[in-house]
Symmetry: C2
Subunit: 245 residues, 2 copies
């Protein structure tokens, strides 16, 4: 069991969508920020990691289960734990809970260490991860099997432009942006009566400034599949219909 | 003098740009959020305002002076004060300070109360603003004189699409988004060697979902002027060249 870290968080208006629910992209960004705060506290900041190893952390996968989305101005608890790791992958959970401790959202994420120069995945060094007290395991969690872009049925495309405001500090498109690009392919009327209940996100390749972005969508009943730039990122969203009040 | 409210704030990675500076749009969103927190504390929440008067607050103008932009992971103090008001306008300042109290950024903003049904500006009622202890004044602060779109020289246009993720809880384009639309018309190389030192933003009309957005830019030396949708929003940015290290 890894060391847990939690913070209270009040959903601000600028992370709330048109239906007063927390934005998924904002929720993911906040989660990543919190893992950074924990790393700082454990003496494993991004600066330390860059100076000691010339590495950086990259999240490559999210699996998100949503019981209920936190609402605007709701105070919640975000909890995180680096649960386990093996040769190449580190696993970290995030829980978004109400103040009674009920889990609203769970996100299981997979991380890799990458070299800042070669942009290649590196082996997990015990010195880097030992302060998190997560379990060293041999098994690799079987990743979700996405349907490849080439096999998506009834696919439709939209194009986007990578702009300055989309970039994160590494000069790449901010991870959370992919979700927006995907979700924005569905119109307001769809969002009005659907909410995500399960989301899989896989980041395969970085998208850089100046690249054209082509997003592909395929919809079957309550499952939508997205591919950004030929599977550079893959997103699968399972929706539930919202009951009318 | 109004009651001051301040909070510590650490610049998160998702509000940091490619050069590790705080994003202007994120800074504006955080400022607005803080004014909401203060209003809550003073018993004048948005819910109260809606229930008692059927009004909401709208910021119509920002004038921002930047000495230095807060950096990623820097801990700063954000301070705010509703300074004064007259028949129709309320004035509120925000200061972004380092921990020694040096002012890094100042934002002077102008607010109006709008009716939720008619979307018209309403008179400022003393009952609404008295808890802020800001000064009642007769004079109206002369707004910044923007150059109209029709008079912009060497204007170039870009088009955007309003998408679900751009909407705020009112179903309109999030205010902060206009700055991104404007600033994104300048490319990464420009941003690499320029930083804003003075920004004027005027919001004249809401932009709604489904509207086509045409952004116009006009550049003269170190001043760029933007008009979003025929002056629905006007932005003027004065840049300084960044000295090389």
């Amino acid at each position: 069991m890894g060391i847990k870290y939690s913070e209270r968080y009040r959903v601000p208006f600028y992370e709330s969508d048109a239906f007063q629910n927390i934005k998924i992209s904002g929720m993911l960004a906040e989660a990543l920020q919190m893992s950074g705060v924990q790393s700082n506290l454990l003496g494993r900041s991004d600066v330390w990691l860059a100076e000691q190893f010339n590495y950086f952390w990259a999240v490559i996968e999210h699996e998100i289960d949503i019981v209920r989305l936190p609402k605007f101005n709701e105070e919640i608890i975000i909890e995180t734990e680096a649960t386990s790791y093996n040769k190449f992958f580190c696993y970290r959970n995030f829980w978004f809970k109400d103040l009674e401790g009920n889990v609203l959202v769970t996100s299981k994420s997979t991380w890799v260490l990458m070299d800042r120069e070669t942009r290649k995945v590196e082996r997990v060094d015990d010195e880097i991860v030992s302060p998190y007290e997560s379990e060293k395991v041999s098994r690799i969690v079987r990743p979700h099997q996405f349907i490849k872009k080439s096999e998506l049925e009834n696919a439709k495309e939209s194009s986007y432009t990578v702009r300055f405001s989309h970039l994160d500090m590494n000069g790449h498109v901010n991870n959370a942006k992919y979700y927006d690009w995907a979700s924005d392919m569905l119109d307001l009327d769809f969002h009005r009566i659907h909410q995500p209940e399960k989301i899989f996100i896989k980041y395969n390749r970085e998208v850089r400034y100046g690249e054209a972005v082509v997003a592909t969508i395929s919809q079957a009943d309550l499952v939508t599949r997205f591919s950004i730039n030929d599977d550079s990122a893959q997103i699968e969203i399972h929706w539930r219909k919202i009951e009318k009040d």
